[in-house]
């Protein structure tokens, strides 16, 4: 049973697909997944997903905890073998050419794994050795990135003395040491305060505007809306939708959301007027392109007693509609 979440305004049709032939298909494909599946024993973590990421694109995986985002990223990083399906990065099979792929990839893992035995700057230089980067280049690159990430003052500090935000910035710097053609970020800003988050976003936006290809996972809607050209929303190992953030908002949440207290009366009145709504926690939510009319209707014809509020729809509304409101661990 598939629920139809689209907003009830068929006359305002919008592009049904993200693909703009001619623009994207002409660009080189960086990641190509077809029916990609990952199982842990009997648990299906990634359930036959297909997607493509093109050069120069910022592509986001949005989904609640346990959706399968990290499992997907780890397969792309060539560190976790797939159960079935196809997966190519830079046109190469991840299982057959892991070294070549990893050579030109940068990774910000979900869990920090900075080497605690090295001070900041030395750690970057050590990491460059794994990529066969000549020492002089590594030194130059480390200094550049430390200044880019505002970590110059910390260059001789041990990793454990860094704050959470600094560690994340250092990991981002580390991921950029080999000038990757593809940067993978698994929840780059989870657990950071707003200042630290914005600093990382700034850095990432610069990278995107310079034409870098970025693949990120997040459960922050704002982050996805902010940084990504295109996103997929994932849940229970499946991709639910794919598209540009603003298109998805339009398509699955409309332009505006009107919220009001939910009573039997209000619900019946809305049904009478053929208005689609969601009801939860004692509230009704109406997805609409005409908030004034809906508000008027609620106040005048449904004899609303309580408060009525209208606001622009956001990616969060799409997300909650598609993935439900049940709490995940």
């Amino acid at each position: 049973m598939e629920a139809d979440f689209r907003v009830a305004h068929p006359e305002k049709a919008h592009a049904p697909d993200h693909k703009e032939p001619g623009s994207e298909s002409a660009r080189e494909m960086v990641v190509e997944a077809t029916n990609l599946e990952k199982r842990f024993g009997t648990l299906v973590a990634v359930d036959g997903i297909s997607f493509r990421v093109y050069e120069g694109e910022a592509f986001g995986f949005l989904g609640p905890n346990g959706a399968g985002k990290t499992s997907t990223m780890r397969m792309i990083q060539c560190v976790s073998p797939r159960t079935s399906g196809e997966l190519r990065v830079f046109g190469m099979d991840t299982q057959e050419h892991p070294r070549e792929i990893k050579q030109t990839m940068g990774v910000v893992p979900q869990e920090n794994n900075l080497d605690p035995d090295f001070p900041v700057r030395e750690g970057l230089i050590q990491f460059a050795r794994y990529f066969d980067i000549p020492h002089a280049d590594a030194v130059k690159r480390a200094d550049e990135l430390l200044s880019l990430m505002a970590l110059e003052e910390k260059k001789n500090t041990t990793v454990e003395k860094l704050s959470g935000g600094m560690k994340r910035r250092l990991i981002l710097a580390r991921a950029l040491m080999n000038r990757p053609r593809l940067l993978i970020l698994d929840e780059p800003t989870t657990g950071l305060d707003p200042q630290a988050r914005h600093l990382i976003w700034e850095g990432l936006r610069d990278l995107v505007s310079q034409g870098n290809t970025i693949l990120l996972t997040t459960h922050y809607m704002e982050e996805a809306a902010h940084l990504c050209d295109r996103i997929v929303i994932m849940d229970h190992g499946k991709i639910l939708v794919e598209g540009k953030p603003q298109d998805l908002v339009k398509r699955y949440a409309g332009d505006y959301i009107v919220e009001a207290d939910s009573t039997q009366e209000v619900q019946e009145c809305l049904k009478r007027h053929d208005i689609i709504f969601d009801a939860y926690e004692g509230r009704v939510q109406i997805f609409t392109q005409d908030p004034k009319e809906v508000t008027r209707l609620l106040l005048d014809e449904c004899s609303m007693g309580g408060e009525v509020a209208a606001r622009p729809a956001s990616l969060e509304d799409v997300f909650l509609r598609l993935t439900g409101r049940t709490l995940r661990e």
């Binding site: 560190v79 990839m105 893992p109 050590q126 990491f127 050795r129 794994y130």
Partner: protein, 257 residues
């Protein structure tokens, strides 16, 4: 190499450990000097004063090769158990490394070579101390060094197998108590194996790598090299090869999911 995707990159892992080891070299270099002095004083002069000789060899000269063997065992085994476990589980250093062009096989092989190197460093530092006490012969004793590397690799592989299957770092105490400690005592280290019941002798020679290491090292430090060490050399080479491959397999099974 050995059908595993192992290249020159193992030395990058080895070097990473060498760099961090050398950062605290002063602390790391004290025990190799101190330990043989303490053992030779306590066992050699203390216990040894009640022992005229063992098989025609003075007691300090009898235990000297055992001291090197034990040091190599401890250095390599404990490097590849507790220290490797910390890098693997707590610091997630291996996870970071395999996201680079390094393969998991190279990371573990690099750790094993490093474990063997720890044993070699220990042996090299002990060597002049033992020379100064006049308990090892020259130049035949120099022959131990290639076999120190072999023994180091063996105990590194043994340790790495336990690291791969330990649910937690505390579980590593079991092989330390139940394997390393008895091996330390019953490998012909401080008294000849043939004083033990034949049944235990057979078990020791069949299962305890240290027994064979001691046989080989002792023949070199006492300048009594003969073909009788050949079975021990074959035993050590085979065990090292098997443990090298098995430990890499086990670690791969643990880390690549």
């Amino acid at each position: 190499m050995l059908g595993l995707p192992i290249s020159y990159r193992v030395w990058k892992v080895w070097r990473r450990n060498m760099v961090t080891f050398m950062r605290t070299w002063k602390v790391n270099f004290i025990p190799p000097f101190l330990e043989p002095v303490l053992y030779l004083l306590a066992l050699g002069l203390g216990v040894g004063s009640f022992i005229s000789d063992i098989q025609g060899v003075s007691y300090p000269r009898y235990i000297a090769p055992a001291l090197i063997s034990i040091a190599v065992m401890n250095a390599a085994f404990f490097e590849c158990t507790y220290a490797s476990y910390v890098r693997m589980y707590y610091a997630k250093t291996f996870d970071a490394m395999i996201a680079t062009p390094l393969s998991i096989e190279e990371v573990i092989a690099g750790e094993l070579l490093w474990g063997a190197t720890r044993g070699l460093i220990y042996a090299v530092l002990m060597f002049p101390v033992l020379l100064a006490f006049g308990v090892i012969d020259l130049p035949s004793s120099f022959l131990i060094f290639p076999f120190v590397i072999l023994a180091g690799l063996l105990f590194a592989g043994l340790g790495m197998c336990f690291t791969a299957i330990s649910p937690g770092i505390d579980a590593l105490n079991y092989p330390s108590f139940l394997l390393i400690t008895p091996m330390f005592l019953f490998s012909g280290t401080f008294f000849p194996l043939n004083l033990l019941p034949p049944f235990i002798q057979i078990i020791a020679l069949a299962l305890l790598p240290l027994a064979h290491v001691v046989i080989v090292f002792r023949s070199f430090t006492l300048d009594m090299i003969s073909l009788s060490i050949l079975p021990s050399l074959v035993w050590l080479a085979s065990a090292t090869l098997i443990l090298f491959i098995v430990s890499i397999r086990l670690m791969k099974r643990r880390l690549i999911v």
